[in-house]
Symmetry: D2
Subunit: 267 residues, 4 copies
């Protein structure tokens, strides 16, 4: 049996409404409009228990999943959605021990996912030219205990990345097509590259530039997720869904230039 | 600059057709119908290079991403698709250091993803009642060097899991609703549970049983991925796409029984 | 140049908010919270003009399309959406001069589309067991001048249809699988049959019964429509969309019974 | 009971494979690789019957629906799909008695749907600059008996339409944005306009031009249709589907120019 301990990150889920994610601290107290819960009452009980507020309202106590963490991030900008993040991790191959670069940091949702996925041996380097976003993301990462895996850099990437020889890099910027020279300088041969873009015009612009900068295996896709009402006898999709978050663009940085490829075969 | 070394897993990508994924071995040779490549010619060149077969056909040499590994698995059964796997990792929170159980093993695609995601400190326990599937999956995992993170068990899970107190469990079986008692016994309080099912009838059956077995936060969804032709001046979706792989069902194992919840509030 | 005349059905579209659809009547007045418009000011001006309310707010004056009519129907029940109706017309082949039966009437959205599509030489017969729905639909049809093409019958179709030899029949009912015997009696050989159903369980039930009642060419589908923000330089889908209206089921009523088909070939 | 008569259009559906659509003619014979059927054997039997070829293979005899006609058109170009056509009819309000213009004709699928929908009192005017396409479409329309409702014009619409005061117009052309001046001249105030375009770049170009040519209520959408396997006990979507046919653009031609709107309010 696994028991809740001081220092754990706990998600408290009411029957209706949004869950709370808090670090359990001796003497702490969670205030909700449905009543308060003393952290000391959580310590020592098993995960998956129900606990009641002083107003006798039930909350379920669970360890938050990565998706739970992403959905509860304090945001001051549009965040990347879990449906997209799951696929980004696979496509960029961001797993245990990896080092990955991203720009811009934004509220830090993708930063959180990267930091979670690379594990304690990995590293995330996150660029944003806005100090306020870097600060917000740092707070979001600290809250879930993942900040020690992230190096935040407040810097416009038009001035270039500090890194060379990176294995994976992701851009969540309005004009990624303007900084592919900088991206190329940061990447090792064969590195994975990705970007998310809300409009088709941006995708076209990026595709045109990727061709000029010796990227290969370029892929564009969009992912959609439709929830169903989980009712056995009346199974059906929900009424409304997210229609669009962004187009995903992926490519590999390669060493041969387009010029070389254009050489006649008998040369 | 990062160079290819003996022992690395390399993906060789032709301009057209399927890529090859091989471990680079001194003295080895890759035979393709476009000519052969000596492994010794790969050792010491940078990732992202082009190499020519003895018939002068170009291949790009890249480190395979997790998605590349999944798409190249030798399969004798329908595999779970990368679009679904990315989301499963997030929803089950399978990351570095985690232990996760799955049944059935099948060809080992999800096994590969789990083994990749949990890292060297994590563990995957994979059940299949068919010896031939376990063997195939073991080979697939060994080929990509992830087999030491996996314990394969050839056993019908109707006879129960050997584990208790598991934190995450995923079922890819035709009748998952028949083994929820066994699932419950294997899971710790609050554990994450998931399943993939091709038909709506199976989803309804599973939902009905989840209600009887004190699972909470039940969620059903489907994920679709649409590719676009990556042409800047003529951006458009491809003509055809995968219409369906499976419905995803997720839930959390909780401790309070349905009976308790049904008690009147003033008791 | 085509001018607005008394008796025409006009749609008045504000820059923001919902349009109004009214029949132009000498002496009439349209009251809106953005000011009023005298019908006499509309008579004699060209379609496509702008007109200002007494509060100087602009409205565009247009002939309503069928889709406009459908979206402005007074409703007391979920209506069938234009995206589905367009396909239903094609699949049931409901065009000029046709006779079509539907049950239930509901608010009359599909009734309106059928009446519009069959033209003055066609006929729609619409069943609902609830008097209040029949009345509401009759009002909705009268408002757009299509009521003379419709025969409303307040009757539970479990008691059977009054018609025989119908060429097309559509059901928008919770339990269509319970009245296929009645449906068969109403249809001529080869007639087109359709139904819309919100849940997968209902679709399964209907499919099982269709097999028992000599229907052929059974087809199940769902249609989705995604809008884009119509901005040339920032083209992208809207943020949210309708995720589900209903599953569409279509079939043809055929004469050979399943028994006959089951006879051995050498008989 | 409705019987097949000489002169009827009949669809013969084998258990597997593509159906045939033929006009029933005394003395005629349908040759298929599953055997032949004499038209005289069809005359006088009820619709919905089964008939056997001289090789004893069964065919079902049905009246073709509009969708059946569309899917069996002889094509030398990509046709517009039924899922899109149904919605186009509603959005352009092309129903009984209407007159509608289209360009280009192509193989005549949309022409067929328009001719079917406007009925004997309506009219379709169809432009294509290629004589071969006009001829093919004319044959396709004649085969299904709808050619007398269509005026084919072999003419490049960059040279303008012959019509004025049209109520509805649809473009299926690669560069519709280049002929909006001509379109405007052909349309009456308030007319409905539509276009289908495969790429996002074309949509952006058209949107930019629509703004310059006093169109209002501009709308962009895409429609997708997913089939399900019609099996009661194993209901699920099919494995693969059409991912894209085209983006639909709709607008209304209005009288007020952009210049007028730009005037200050107090003028």
């Amino acid at each position: 049996m696994s028991l809740i301990r001081a220092g754990d990150l706990a998600m408290l889920v009411p029957e209706k409404g949004r869950p709370f994610i808090k670090r359990v601290q001796p003497g702490g107290e969670l205030q909700t409009h449905r009543g308060s819960i003393r952290h000391d009452d959580l310590i020592g009980i098993p995960w998956g228990s129900q606990i009641r507020t002083h107003l006798d309202v039930c909350f379920l106590v669970l360890e938050p999943t990565l998706r739970d963490l992403l959905l509860r991030i304090s945001r001051r900008s549009q965040i990347i959605f879990p449906k997209d993040i799951g696929y980004i991790l696979l496509r960029l191959s961001v797993g245990p021990g990896k080092t990955v670069i991203e720009a811009g940091t934004g509220s830090g949702a993708l930063t959180t996912a990267f930091a979670w996925a690379v594990g304690p041996q990995g590293k995330v380097i996150s660029y944003d030219r806005r100090e306020d976003m870097t600060s917000l993301a740092r707070e979001n990462l600290a809250r879930v205990g993942l900040d020690d895996r992230v190096v935040f850099r407040t810097r416009d990437i038009e001035d270039g990345f500090e890194e060379e020889d990176a294995e994976a890099l992701f851009l969540d910027l309005p004009k990624p097509h303007l900084c592919l020279t900088q991206v190329r300088s940061a990447l090792r041969g064969g590195a994975t590259f990705g970007a998310i873009l809300p409009t088709t015009n941006q995708v076209s612009e990026l595709l045109a530039e990727l061709q000029q900068h010796t990227f290969a295996l370029v892929e564009v896709c969009e992912i959609s997720l439709r929830y169903y009402k989980p009712v056995a006898a009346r199974l059906r999709p929900v009424d409304r869904m997210v229609a669009h978050t962004g187009y995903l663009v992926f490519a590999r940085s390669v060493l041969c230039s387009a010029e070389e490829e254009a050489l006649p075969d008998d040369d």
